[in-house]
């Protein structure tokens, strides 16, 4: 049943959020640190485990894939609810800092990606 997939997703989501908040508490800031990241890793592991056991039925997977496919519409809704007026009225400083920092960060991507890509070359056996 599809709800099994949705429930599994909810379980991973909530567990990840708990882990993220615990990590936040541990390092002394009262917020979620990487909760979504933990949840994603949990879901990947759970999916692999359940597939191996043969528990992952197509309907179950589809329950998760539905939410995965809702992602883009949700992003569009999110874009429509951003405080864009503040971004524009925040003054020149906000505009200049925001634009320059993001643009320069874009161009750091190939630089850092290069450092990492040596990894699989040095240790090709997995």
């Amino acid at each position: 049943m599809k709800i099994y997939g949705v429930a599994l997703l909810a379980l991973c989501f909530l567990t990840g959020k708990v882990l993220g908040n615990l990590l936040g508490k541990l390092i002394g800031i009262n917020s979620d640190v990487g909760g979504v990241g933990f949840a994603m890793l949990l879901l990947i592991v759970a999916n692999a485990f359940m597939k191996k056991k043969g528990w992952m039925e197509t309907a179950t997977t589809n329950g998760i894939l539905f939410w995965s496919s809702m992602y883009i519409p949700i992003i569009v809704a999110m874009a429509a609810t951003l405080n864009v007026k503040a971004a524009v009225s925040g003054g020149l400083v906000a505009l200049v800092v925001g634009v320059i920092v993001t643009l320069v960060a874009f161009y750091l991507v190939p630089l850092i990606a290069k450092i990492g890509q040596k990894e699989p070359l040095n240790s090709p056996e997995k």
Partner: protein, 248 residues
């Protein structure tokens, strides 16, 4: 008649949001196909339409208008995070493993670099006290790190507003800029998407930008970006502020 209409939508805000966003998607993909000949992805057009609609409202964008209040729920952090986690189904664990180190490096570089570049620009634009420039620098990380740092350092609310605005500008630039710039920075594989997420860090900007570039890359970017805000909240008001204090 209009009263009944408003009442129904008021009570079923989320359902109306489904209809409304569905219509935006339909329009965007139609425009992409027939007007731009698929040169601009439909998702990118949809996000830009979304951003333009946000101008109709104030703090919460279009959801400030009563009949669109359901958009706040659909586009809120709960459903957004839920859907982002679901995208992990399409991620390859081996690719994440091999990009792990680069991802971690990119997170630290991303936060460090955004903060200090932001600080530098704020300084040259006339802000001189360490607290204010630290807050603006933190805003250059994400629009959450900014106010968290500003509150911790006790700056005035107008500086906090600037830091939030800086973060939102970053989100918007990442959203619109990513699909345009992806080719020239080699952003076409999971490995660089992981690095991209760590460097840009604003979860909404990273995921929206990647979605508009290639939806397959979303989970990889989201995975690192989700650690960014936490790392920023940790480093900006403490270590980084401390470094600034030594200089100013």
């Amino acid at each position: 008649m209009i009263e009944i209409f408003e009442k129904i939508i008021g009570k079923n805000g989320l359902v109306f949001a489904f209809l409304f966003v569905g219509f935006i998607m339909l329009l965007s993909f139609w425009l992409s196909k027939y007007i731009t000949n698929k040169r601009i992805p439909g998702v990118a057009i949809a996000v830009i339409i979304g951003l333009s609609l946000a101008f109709l409202g104030d703090e919460k964008g279009i959801s400030d208008i009563t009949i669109f209040s359901g958009m706040a729920l659909l586009g809120g952090s709960m459903l957004r995070d839920f859907a982002v986690v679901a995208t992990a189904m399409g991620a390859d664990i081996n690719k994440i493993k091999s990009a792990g180190l680069a991802g971690a490096v990119s997170l630290f570089v991303g936060v460090f670099f955004s903060f200090f570049l932001g600080v530098l620009i704020a300084y040259f634009m006339g802000y001189t006290d360490a607290e204010s420039i630290a807050t603006i620098g933190a805003g250059a990380c994400t629009y959450i790190v900014g106010p968290v740092t500003g509150t911790a350092l006790g700056v005035s609310s107008d500086i906090i507003a600037i830091s939030v605005a800086t973060g939102v500008v970053k989100t918007i630039v990442a959203t619109i800029g990513t699909p345009l710039i992806a080719k020239s920075i080699g952003l076409n594989n999971p490995h660089s998407a992981v690095v991209f997420g760590g460097l840009i860090g604003t979860t909404s900007g990273v995921t929206a930008g990647l979605a508009a570039t290639d939806p397959k890359l979303v989970p990889y970017g989201a995975l690192t970006a989700t650690f960014y805000t936490g790392l920023g909240c940790l480093l900006c008001p403490s270590l980084f502020y401390f470094i600034l204090k030594l200089i100013f």
